[in-house]
């Protein structure tokens, strides 16, 4: 080896071989990196060294035996990985391990992947000979309770990897070492089946287990693997789909992906059975005399073209999907604007983060996460408000857990005692709907105590004085009264946040789904500006977006007021540019938002609709009203992968492919555009969404829809969308790119607003705020507040997850969560059916008594058609973003006496 070593490296000698290694890594890591094998069992690249198995013993200079997984490399060190002294120790250890391990390798699911086998072979130990060495094992029954994996502790070698993963990476700690001596084993709390423990079924321990003690239930080995992106949430984890024939048989995390580094949550790892599900739509359907008839694509497309052509103009509306790719959304909005001549296009972002786009657009100039997910782990302080991160963005939550382990402070603001509260230094349990007050109350403390970053405020922001005046209203007494949070806690939170070197705010629907959602977002933005926490690493304002491509759908202009890249439809120059590019006349006025579209359909003004991949009936507030509106349409096309509740109301249903059968790009919540790739051929005659839209456009005589593949579409996107200007297929093949990425030389932007804000004058804008109560406050008749949310195990309206049997086993029906005191006042017992009634309707579900909720507040999710929570919710909406108030409505609860 040579002299061109940098300062971070040391040179050492392993078995006579000169190698270089980065300072700080262990001997074992250095050896493995250089393809030198040292037996090891309790080592995992993702964990701090365990030092438990003692198999990785090596000899160093002074003749000492050390565990190579715990000993750091040193300059000039000489390491011997094998000699008779070492081998004796190793053999002894390995024999003992094998002796205590049930040996029936041929039937073991880990056969050929088992590290113990590997080591036995390496050391030349014959398993058969060990038979008589085995003590009589006390029986530990196999635990098969989890729907996705089994625990067979008879094979456990107590390496502790699973315990460490579950505690140090997940922060869940479902399992630990228990009992003593011979009986020592990995146990859950009270030694119950794993299903009844706090385990979140992520399967990380199953991946980490070196032997067959933890194995997936499905052990079919794939014949090939395809690198792609998880289709569920906005985190955008990298995965490999394991394929056998035309069936997906497993999923594993992509350790090279910077977002998840190989980790996955339960949905990503185990939620793939919807892809090959027998209930998938596989042929186009046309409704004749109230019944769906199977037809060919030509029939369906001709039929649509004939009918839809009658509605060119503003009597047509399109609902796009945050599940579709950027290319598909681009084509879809182009179709709506260029072919149908209207800007009436919107999608489910309206229900979640349009408040973000609107609010941050005003204050920072760009409505997306300012920083990246990977930076969270290094934040000195994390403020998680209105996000149940471990359930909704599990992999992002791993960053929070890591930050806490690195000594960072965690402040959680949530009316419910969510899992994150366990890790929090401060938990602010404010009343639902009082976020502005809480945040402004904190900011008042920061200003009064002069803890704000005055140079940042002076140099980079504007409008501070007006904002400061509006803080007057938020004295501690009023804030405590309105939010219900103790004064001292507010002061402590304010001080902690303001005095941390880097503080990162994470938020989600708890902030946006209110009739004052945009104000909430502005409050968050004010706090970040005030403390100078924008434009630097591990800080920022970070809206966590829900659907896998909701960021991309917004970027692609599936919104009624902007073209791709947030270019206003009412800006004359931009209109010109698109008219030229698309060679057509475009509508000059903004279209209707999703709630307005539904309203107009109800009034008969919108008469035809094309809905892609959205189950509006379950996701929109006040569902009965939505059904009425859809029934009034003269012509409705629904394109989806299953016959959803919404599809049943359509005139034509088109079978789309899942992500596994097509390719394209998704943009995750941190603006990272990533390639997903086709793994199997489309099921039945299902087709990619972009193909379908292009075919309809062509039948309507439109030009500019002759794309052969998604690569060509992405090129057109880049040519018209400055923030995507440098994003091309061949670049993405090497890894994702974060927008803004203006040209082929630009490597993208991981942190926004570094030197100036994206606003017109480059300044961050403070905005004054005042308290606006929620639209429907509890009263004598409807005394409870209903707030809604999600479960880790289900996704959105359940179109995909409810097709996965195991996920239904983990969370198969909805509960009404209620405080035990409220329950006893109403004479309601655990697991008893109750009726929840609002001014708009009623839902029946089982009660779940839990201290996680304060008195007066109940909680439900909206995943289930059987208990359609959104019958209850209020469609009162934010005046700016039109996001409905899904997080707050007044209800009453009655014991169900039937």
């Amino acid at each position: 080896m040579n002299n061109n070593m940098n300062n971070n490296e040391v040179a050492l000698n392993i078995d006579g071989l000169q190698i270089k290694a980065n300072k700080g890594i262990t001997i074992l890591q250095a050896a493995l990196e250089n393809n030198i094998y040292i037996p090891n069992l309790c080592y995992s690249p993702y964990l701090k060294p365990g030092g438990a198995c003692r198999l990785c013993m090596v000899e160093i200079d002074d003749g000492r035996l050390v565990t190579s997984c715990e000993t750091p490399v040193e300059q000039g060190m000489n390491v011997v990985t094998e000699n008779s002294k070492i081998n004796n120790v190793r053999k002894l250890v390995a024999e003992l391990l094998i002796a205590n391990h049930e040996v029936d390798c041929l039937t073991c699911a880990k056969n050929d992947h088992c590290k113990l086998q590997e080591i036995a072979a390496y050391l030349g130990i014959e398993k058969e000979k060990l038979g008589n060495l085995r003590r009589v094992l006390f029986e530990i029954p196999k635990d098969t309770s989890n729907p996705f994996f089994d625990r067979d502790l008879g094979k456990c070698i107590l390496c502790g990897i699973c315990v460490r993963i579950c505690r140090d990476i997940l922060g869940v700690s479902a399992i630990d070492f228990g009992f003593r001596g011979y009986e020592t084993r990995i146990t859950t709390f009270s030694d119950k089946p794993i299903l009844e423990s706090s385990c979140v079924s992520c399967g990380e321990c199953v991946v980490g287990c070196p032997v067959g003690a933890l194995v997936p239930k499905n052990t079919l080995q794939p014949s090939r693997e395809v690198k792609t992106i998880c289709p569920y949430c906005g985190v955008g984890c990298g995965i490999y789909l394991g394929v056998r024939g035309n069936t997906i048989v497993n999923v594993r995390g992509d350790s090279d992906n910077p977002v998840n580094k190989g980790n996955l949550c339960v949905k990503g790892r185990f939620g793939y059975n919807f892809i090959n599900h027998p209930k998938r739509l596989t042929t186009p359907l046309i409704k004749r005399n109230g019944k769906f008839i199977e037809v060919t694509w030509d029939e369906a497309l001709d039929y649509i073209a004939r009918n839809i052509s009658k509605y060119v103009g503003d009597s047509f509306a399109a609902i796009a999907s945050a599940k579709c790719s950027n290319e598909e959304n681009y084509v879809f909005q182009k179709f709506t604007r260029a072919v149908m001549g209207t800007n009436n296009i919107d999608h489910c972002a309206r229900l979640c983060h349009v408040s973000t786009v609107a609010g941050l657009g005003k204050t920072l100039g760009s409505g997306a996460m300012t920083n990246t997910i990977a930076e969270i782990a290094d934040s000195a302080c994390i403020f998680a408000i209105g996000t149940n991160t471990t359930s909704t963005h599990p992999i992002t939550a791993l960053g929070i857990i890591k930050a806490v382990q690195n000594g960072g402070k965690l402040i959680v603001a949530n009316p419910r005692e969510i899992d994150l509260c366990r890790h929090a230094d401060i938990w602010l349990q404010h009343c639902p709907g009082t976020d502005v007050v809480l945040l402004m109350g904190m900011m008042r403390q920061i200003v009064d105590r002069e803890l704000f970053d005055s140079s940042f405020v002076n140099d980079r922001c504007e409008n501070f004085n007006l904002f400061k005046k509006s803080l007057r209203e938020f004295d501690l007494d009023s804030v405590e009264k309105i939010t219900g949070v103790n004064k001292d806690k507010i002061i402590e939170a304010a001080k902690t946040f303001a005095s941390s070197k880097t503080a990162s705010i994470l938020y989600s629907m708890g902030i946006t789904q209110h009739s004052h959602g945009t104000d909430n977002v502005i409050a968050v933005s004010n706090l970040a500006l005030l403390t100078g926490n924008i434009g630097k690493p591990s800080a920022g304002v970070n809206p966590l977006r829900g659907q896998n491509n909701v960021q991309g759908s917004c970027d692609m202009g599936c919104l009624p007021d902007v073209y791709p890249g947030y270019q206003s439809v009412e800006d004359y120059k931009i209109l010109e540019k698109f008219q030229r590019a698309w060679d057509c006349k475009l509508n000059k006025s903004s279209g209707l938002t999703l709630p307005q579209i539904i309203e107009s359909a109800h009034d008969g003004k919108i008469r035809a609709m094309y809905i892609v991949g959205e189950n509006l009936i379950l996701s929109e507030p006040n569902s009965s009203h939505v059904i009425e509106s859809l029934e009034k349409l003269e012509f409705a096309v629904v394109q989806d992968i299953f016959l959803t509740e919404t599809a049943l109301l359509a005139d034509v249903v088109l079978p789309a492919c899942t992500f596994a059968e097509r390719d394209g790009t998704f943009t995750n919540t941190e603006r990272r555009v990533q390639l997903f790739q086709r793994a199997i051929k489309p099921l039945g005659s299902s087709k990619p969404d972009w193909w379908i839209t292009c075919e309809i456009s062509k039948r309507l005589g439109a030009k500019g829809f002759d794309f052969h593949n998604t690569k060509e579409i992405l090129e057109e996107i880049a040519s018209l969308t400055p923030i995507y200007g440098g994003i091309f297929y061949d670049r993405l093949e090497k890894g994702g790119l974060q927008w803004p990425c203006s040209d082929a030389e630009d490597n993208g932007t991981s942190i926004l607003h570094m030197n100036q804000f994206a606003t017109e004058n480059g300044k961050g804008k403070f905005l004054p705020l005042s308290y606006k109560p929620s639209a429907e406050l509890p009263d004598n008749e409807y005394p409870f507040i209903l707030t809604t949310g999600r479960s880790l195990y289900q996704y959105h309206t359940g179109t995909m997850t409810r097709m996965v049997e195991g996920l239904n086993k983990l969370y198969g029906h909805d509960f009404v969560e209620i405080n035990p005191k409220d329950a006893s006042d109403l004479d309601i017992n655990h697991d008893e059916f109750v009726r929840v009634i609002s001014r708009r309707g009623e839902v029946k579900a089982k009660a779940k008594l839990t201290d996680a909720l304060p008195k007066g507040v109940i909680f439900m999710t909206f995943h289930f058609a059987e208990t359609p929570t959104n019958i209850l919710t209020n469609s009162a909406m934010d005046p700016i973003s039109n996001t409905p108030e899904l997080k707050f409505c007044a209800v009453k609860i009655e014991k169900d006496t039937e």
Binding site: R167, A174, D176, F177, G178, F179, T187, T188, F189, S190
Partner: protein, 150 residues
């Protein structure tokens, strides 16, 4: 059963090092470590419940079920073992329909094993509440429970 859980916890700061003393206090008060008490301790000390359970199972002194009115400790010392303590244990398990370490649902009887009771000459033996029963046979089992001893 004097103090309630909150009262016990109020004597402690909630540090990690408080764990064993808290467990001991709770056992002294309730006679065992109830599940919901462990969950409360977990909230109080921020130690995960699985870890508390792991620690508690490491020490023989902690129990996880309440003691029955009649508490039976079957000797598993060497002499008793040789004289068939295992059969006695199994016999009682069958009779009460519980396993070693458990308590009958009506909280009448609980069953445990102990090391040598010091009456090896009278093996196999067992202790029922404070009284030693010796030279046990399978036939004696019924009597152990029918007798009106307290």
């Amino acid at each position: 059963m004097g103090k309630d859980l909150r009262e016990i916890l109020s004597f402690y700061k909630g540090d990690r090092s408080n764990l064993i003393p808290i467990l001991q206090d709770i056992q002294a008060n309730f006679g065992y470590l109830p599940e919901n008490a462990i969950l409360e301790i977990s909230k109080f000390t921020k130690i995960p419940e699985s870890e508390i359970y792991g620690v508690a199972t490491f020490y023989a002194q902690f129990r996880f079920t309440p003691i029955g009115k009649k508490h039976i400790m079957v000797c598993e010392g060497t002499a008793c073992h040789v004289k068939g303590a295992d059969q006695i244990m199994e016999g009682i398990e069958r009779y009460l329909d519980i396993k070693e370490g458990e308590t009958t649902p009506d909280l009448e009887c609980s069953l445990e094993s102990v090391a040598c009771l010091g009456c090896c000459a009278l093996a196999p033996c067992a202790m029922v509440n404070e009284k030693v029963e010796s030279n046990l046979t399978l036939k004696d089992i019924k009597k152990l429970f029918s007798k009106n001893s307290k």
